[in-house]
Every structure is written in structure tokens, then in C-alpha cells.
């Protein structure tokens, strides 16, 4: 079953972008690093990181069917969620803590980020950008909640309870005192574009954003 089609699951990359997401994340992670992937799904990224980067990569996933699939593939994945299951890890347990397309679906995004940067040296966060022009246009023109490929679920049943824009995320990082080590935005075709250096433009044209943070 496709994640995007299942009730209750957060928005995820469609297949063509999934590869891109993995590639972009994997590029940012140094070989041999200790990695925790929160919301790891069936563990594709941790498997990739172990096999190609020699990483000690582990996962947490809320969907039990995905957990079962991952563990049955020999991957170290535990059932849990970002809101409840980060607190018990010791400080600095990981080099990277990854939260891929899940931030917008957690109950307390700010607390989750704090935990990520407590237990990891770097946080890698990707999220769908609610500032994309198509969403702005739909809201302005129709006066209704936007409905796009990425934001395809009606307001009353979306698991994405905390949508944010790229500028919102910059503001939160600033407010919390995090250093944005790297960031990038990609358009709907998954291409990095010339506007990637300009947050204002990226916020308009970037469909998805990827940030690497560390504590100041």
C-alpha cells in the first residue's frame, strides 16, 4: 500500500521524489555516522545508509505494519513516535537525527526539534512547504483550504496538523537559537533551482524544504 493513500499517515514523498529525498539526505550524512531516522517508514533510508555509508542507522516508526516490514527485513526499527519516544535517549547519542516529512504531523514540533538536537549533533528536517505559490493562490482565489498533490487531504482528516513555510522554519530556528548549517528547497519535479539561495523565492517556489541544524 502506498503511504500517501492511507488514512492517518502523514504526507510522504511520492515514489519519484522518495528517491530524491533519500539521495539528498544521504548526501548530507557522513559515512560511518550514528543516525536515528524518526518516522522511518519501512526503513528504506536506514537500509541505504547502512549499505552505502556504513552508518549505524536506526529507526522509529509509528505505523506498526511498516515497523513489522522493516524488522522483517532485518532493520533495527522500533515502534514509537516523535512526540513520546525521544526523551529516553541519552544526550548526544547520535550524529544525525532525521525527521523526514513528519514535522508537520507531530503534536509538539518545537519540543521534537529540541529533543532531536539534544540527542543528536545535527538535526536533518524535511517538510512540505506551506508557502508554495500554488497553495497561496488557491487560498486567495477560492477562499478554501488548498488541495494539491502534496497537500491532498481535506482539512478535517489531514494528519498534518502543524504546517509551516520555509520562512516560518527559519524564524523558529532563529528563535530557538539553532544554527542553520545547510538548507535547500526543491520544486515539484524534485529539482534544486537557482532560487535556492534566496529564502523568499524558495518559499514561493520550493515545494519541499530540507534543513540541517545544530545547536549554537
Amino acid at each position: 500500500m502506498n503511504d500517501a493513500g492511507r488514512a492517518g499517515a502523514p504526507v510522504r514523498y511520492v515514489a519519484k521524489n522518495m528517491r530524491l529525498d533519500l539521495r539528498l539526505l544521504a548526501e548530507m550524512i557522513t559515512p560511518g555516522a550514528r543516525v536515528l531516522d524518526i518516522g522511518c517508514g519501512d526503513g528504506t533510508l536506514i537500509d541505504h545508509l547502512y549499505r552505502t555509508h556504513g552508518c549505524d542507522a536506526r529507526g522509529i516508526e509509528i505505523d506498526m505494519a511498516e515497523v513489522t516490514r522493516a524488522v522483517a527485513h532485518g532493520l533495527p526499527v522500533m515502534h514509537g513516535d516523535a512526540d513520546a519516544d525521544l526523551g529516553q535517549y541519552p544526550d548526544g547519542a547520535f550524529d544525525y537525527v532525521v525527521l523526514s516529512r513528519t514535522l508537520q504531523a507531530v503534536e509538539r514540533p518545537r519540543e521534537v526539534l529540541r529533543q532531536m538536537l539534544r540527542i543528536g549533533r545535527h538535526a536533518l528536517v524535511s517538510f512540505p512547504n506551506f508557502g508554495h505559490w500554488e497553495l497561496r493562490w488557491q487560498l486567495l482565489w477560492t477562499g478554501r483550504m488548498p488541495n494539491t498533490t502534496v497537500w491532498g487531504r481535506p482539512w478535517y482528516e489531514t494528519p498534518n496538523i502543524h504546517p509551516c513555510t520555509i520562512r516560518d522554519f527559519f524564524a523558529l530556528a532563529d528563535q530557538e537559537g539553532y544554527v542553520v548549517e545547510r538548507w535547500l528547497a526543491v520544486d515539484d519535479a524534485g529539482q534544486r533551482s537557482p532560487w535556492r539561495r534566496f529564502p523568499g523565492l524558495a518559499n514561493m517556489f520550493g515545494e519541499q524544504a530540507l534543513f540541517q541544524l545544530r545547536r549554537a
Partner: protein, 379 residues
């Protein structure tokens, strides 16, 4: 009561070459541990899996039981091509210390005198004592490191104890449907079972072996109570509901099928289990509290561990509910351990780990396969 005797069978065993120091302070000499093995130990001696049994299980995991004539208790899981694949792994299964299927326990001769059995004088043993005895056996078999230690229920407690006591000797640990300590509810059910044994006049203060009678009634009731805790309400409803079994023409002599089932469970149990062993082992479970040995912090039991863990629980298990496995998983995270944790959807209750549960079996096989890759075992 009839002169019911437990059958006398020669069980494959090994005598530990040193006295076993127990938690109670007693040094137990000439400890005999009954065991069975399946599959072949590789030349590197690196493919051994120890299976730890539950309260009333034993070493006959994957073969016809010599006493009951039934299939091995984990026949669905252990064997060629099965989740614990004996074509690939060398499986060792022991009978726990305090047991009654060939290992030293209350039914053993005290000080080598076959006329004087230990009975209730058998020293109290703990889960850690059981694991100590297994460790001696594994050492004597010349196996420096176990590829995996796997067990459900009380077997899962032994797995946790193994990982805490001998982390360097356990590459992978699979505690299934278990808990880091016995809850008040667990202890309460065990106490009902013990009291029912004590209340049987044939128990004779535990010296029933002198008269030759067995406290069969008390032990059967203990088994019946325990058996209810192994099932779920859904499983009982599905299997029996309110169906009646016609026993005579008189209307009120009929019996519910669930009554008949429990009575059968109770009466067959007394033919294979020793009442004093039941008392000894249920107490060992009740005393189990792994965190207590580590200043009350379960994480401390696993600090620095390199063992790979896979915790498995079942949705309808109310004897060792998922929350207890989750607590272990979180403690392991706190220790920085490598943890997999899955809750399997099943309506079969605690007993699900013994039954045909495809998701459970795929999870177990996949976890072991992944570990084998990390351990460098040949496919």
C-alpha cells in the same frame, strides 16, 4: 488419590563441573542440566542459539516429547526452513534449574541419595540462577559467544537476564511477550496457583513423594487458573463461547465447553509436571525484577551493551502487556542499545508466541537474518 507417578525418562544432560552459587547463598553441587540440541554447530562455533522456555515448558522444543508424545512446544518456530532455521543455526534448549524434565530441581535426589528427594527443601532459585546454570552449560559446550538468546514469557526474562549479566556472550537477544519484573497482578495469579497446591491434602507439606500420591487436584487447579491468563477473552469466545457439552440427559448436568477444556488442561498437566517444581519456578518469576539489581534503573542493566535486541509483544496479551515490552525498549534506548520493537496484532492472548502467527514468524526470521549478516554468519 491414585498412586499417580510422573514417568521416569532418561533425559540427555550434562553435569556442571563446578558447584553453582545461587542468589540465596547456597552452593549447589553436581547440578545436572538437561538439554537438547538441533542443527549443526559450525566450525567457528558462532551459530549457536539458546532457547529459553516458559514456566511449564522444557528442552523438547522441536521434537516429539518423550513424556507426552506431543509435538515440541515450539515446533512451528524451530526447525529446517522455519524462523529459527536449524539448517543454519545450532539450537540449544535446556530445562531450567528447578525444573522437572531432567534438570536439578525439587524432584532430584538430594546429595545423591535416590531415596531422599529435595522436595520443598530445594533452595529457592531465581531467574538469574537459571541463567547462571545455562551459562555454565554453554561454556562447557565450548561456545564462547551465543549468536542469539531467544525466549518468550519467563523465557524472555531469562533473555533479559542473559543480556544484562553476560553482554559479551550474547550477540542478539529476543525477549518475547515478557516483562522486566513481575507485576502485582502476575504475582497474584501465581499465588492462587500455589495456594491451590498447598490446599490439596495430597501435597503433604511438599513430601508427597514419600507416600507416592501426587497433589494432582491442586496442581490441576493451578494450571487451570494460569491457563486462563494465557488466553484472551476474544480467544476464549472464539474457541468456546457459551457452547455446552452434553454429558448426560439431565439438563443441568451439562457442562460449558470452556469448563471441559480447562479440566482437560489441568488433568493432562499433572501427568508431566511436578508440583514442587511449579512452586519453585513461579516464585522465581515473582522475584524477578531486573532493575532492582541496578539501583532501580533498568537502563543501567544494559549500559554499553553491543547486543542487538528485538522485543516482540502481542496486542491481546494482558499477562505481559505491550507497555512492559515498551518500557524495556525505552530503557534500552536510554542505554544507547540497538533495539527493534514490534507489537504483533493477534487476538490469541499471551499464548500467541507459541502459535501460528505469520507476522511474528516473519519478524523473528528477518531480525535473525539481519543479525546473521552483521555477525558475518554464512547465509
Amino acid at each position: 488419590m491414585d498412586q499417580l507417578q510422573l514417568p521416569s525418562v532418561d533425559h540427555q544432560h550434562l553435569v556442571l563441573d563446578a558447584a553453582l552459587m545461587l542468589d540465596c547463598g547456597t552452593a549447589l553441587p553436581h547440578v545436572q542440566i538437561a538439554y537438547r540440541t538441533y542443527g549443526t554447530l559450525n566450525t567457528a562455533r558462532s551459530n549457536a542459539i539458546l532457547i529459553c522456555h516458559a514456566l511449564t515448558g522444557d528442552q523438547y522444543v522441536a521434537e516429539t516429547h518423550p513424556v507426552t508424545g506431543k509435538d515440541g512446544w515450539w515446533d512451528v518456530v524451530v526447525g529446517p526452513g522455519k524462523p529459527i532455521d536449524t539448517d543454519r543455526y545450532f539450537v540449544i534448549a535446556t530445562n531450567v534449574l528447578g525444573g522437572c524434565m531432567g534438570s536439578t530441581g525439587p524432584r532430584s535426589a538430594r546429595n545423591g541419595d535416590p531415596a531422599a528427594l529435595w522436595g520443598t527443601d530445594f533452595p529457592p532459585v531465581t531467574i538469574r540462577d537459571m541463567v547462571r546454570a545455562q551459562k555454565h552449560l554453554v561454556d562447557q559446550l565450548g561456545i564462547a559467544r551465543l549468536f542469539a538468546v531467544i525466549g518468550g514469557s519467563m523465557g524472555g526474562m531469562q533473555v533479559l537476564q542473559w543480556a544484562a549479566s553476560y553482554p559479551e556472550q550474547v550477540f542478539a537477544a529476543v525477549p518475547i511477550a515478557t516483562a522486566p519484573y513481575h507485576s502485582a497482578q502476575n504475582i497474584a495469579f501465581n499465588e492462587v496457583g500455589r495456594q491451590s497446591i498447598f490446599a490439596d491434602p495430597d501435597w503433604q507439606q511438599g513430601r508427597y513423594w514419600q507416600s507416592g500420591a501426587l497433589p494432582a487436584r491442586g496442581l490441576a487447579v493451578a494450571r487451570m487458573v494460569a491457563h486462563i491468563t494465557y488466553l484472551s477473552e476474544e480467544a476464549l469466545t472464539r474457541k468456546f463461547g457459551r457452547r455446552m457439552r452434553r454429558t448426560s440427559l439431565a439438563v443441568f448436568n451439562d457442562m460449558f465447553e470452556v469448563e471441559s477444556y480447562l479440566q482437560h488442561q489441568g488433568s493432562t498437566f499433572v501427568g508431566r509436571f511436578d508440583a514442587n517444581s511449579y512452586l519453585t519456578i513461579t516464585r522465581a518469576c515473582d522475584w524477578f525484577d531486573l532493575a532492582a539489581d541496578y539501583e532501580g534503573a533498568l537502563s543501567k542493566a544494559f549500559v554499553g551493551t553491543r547486543t542487538r535486541f528485538c522485543l516482540i509483544s502481542f496486542t491481546s496479551d494482558w499477562l505481559y502487556p505491550t507497555a512492559e515490552s515498551r518500557a524495556v525498549a525505552r530503557a534500552l534506548n536510554g542505554a544507547g542499545a540497538n533495539v527493534s520493537f514490534v507489537e504483533i496484532g493477534s487476538d490469541k492472548g499471551h499464548d500467541a508466541f507459541l502459535l501460528d502467527e505469520p507476522d511474528f514468524h516473519r519478524t523473528l526470521a528477518g531480525f535473525l537474518g539481519g543479525c546473521a549478516e552483521h555477525a558475518g554468519l554464512a547465509p
